[in-house]
Amino acid sequence: MPLIFVGGLIFGFGLGFSHMARPEVVLEFLQFTDFGLLFVMFGAAIVTGLAFAIVPRLRGRAPLTGDTYGRRLKSFDKNVLIGGSIFGVGWGLSGICPGAAYASLGIGNLTILWALAGMFVGAYLQGVWRSQQASAASMANAD
């Protein structure tokens, strides 16, 4: 837990330092007036890419959890496209994404609470919907 906190600290500091925690800067990127955000995303992905490639070769298991090192691989289905598109509309409208929104609160942006409230409402709505789907599916199987 302390290590996850430290990781989060560095992560959040980076989001602040890069100004990605400011929705305006994200919108400037999406509107093609400042391409700097490319360096945030690719810079971060290069660092994780190197670690994900090298660390598993150096040691077998994570010291704190005993878990084996894996990559972040999620199965592909149409949800990735549907969800990605809905997220894209939200991101393009507001300039906020989850990590940057938490960081934005840390730099004093109280207005971002609107976005955080919205994200919880959205996550809750899809949760209720998918819970109903899941129980409908299990009912169908029981028949």
Binding site: G8, L9, S18, P23, G43, I46, G90, P98, G127
Partner: protein, 185 residues
């Protein structure tokens, strides 16, 4: 005729705020994810926090799958908030400065206890409505800019690369439409 000054000029147009603050910030974002990965084997994302935290207050079956990870996800999120606050108390407040750091001019700054904090000018309805869509979309789409964009792309995951291309393209289209409609800020 192409002169030697063309390249810096082009750079100034594409990157009006320079690139160092973005590059350094991005490396730190990646480093934060790597610290967690090396210690725990977890390739972290930020959006699952929404659902895992809802499992404390809702017994919808969908949220229960995140019970086992909900505690550390709160710690991770608090870390992100505190890390950004450390940035606010140092570089944003001007207590520390670096040639790699370039302050920005968006939004509005305010002083609190001698330190500089910052507020967005983006209108609340955009943040709230956008937030709802982000909350729905990241959860259906299995990840956000950190899960898919940082850890997934770092894993060379095809799913994540397709996910990033999808939300990036749609977000660019949306942002262009919003600005074309004259919505500002």
């Amino acid at each position: 005729m192409i002169t030697e000054s063309t390249i810096p000029l082009l750079t100034a147009e594409l990157f009006p705020n320079g690139i160092s603050r973005y590059a350094v910030g991005g490396l730190l974002v990646g480093l934060g994810a790597v610290v967690i990965y090396v210690g725990t084997g977890i390739a972290a994302g930020a959006s699952t926090f929404l659902e895992s935290t809802l499992s404390y207050v809702s017994d919808q079956s969908r949220f229960q799958r995140y019970r086992s990870s909900r505690d550390w996800r709160i710690v991770f999120t608090l870390g992100i908030i505190m890390g950004a606050m450390v940035y606010a108390l140092t570089f944003q407040s001007g207590v520390l400065s670096s040639s790699l750091y370039q302050p920005g001019s968006t939004g509005e700054v305010f002083e609190l206890g001698g330190f500089t904090f910052w507020l967005t000018d983006v209108q609340p309805w955009r943040l709230f409505l956008g937030g709802i869509l982000v909350g729905i979309g990241t959860r259906i789409g299995k990840g956000c800019t950190s899960g898919h964009g940082v850890c997934g792309v770092g894993s060379a995951s095809k799913t994540s690369i397709v996910g990033v291309m999808t939300f990036l393209a749609v977000a660019i289209g949306t942002a262009q439409i919003v600005v074309a409609l004259g919505v500002s800020p």
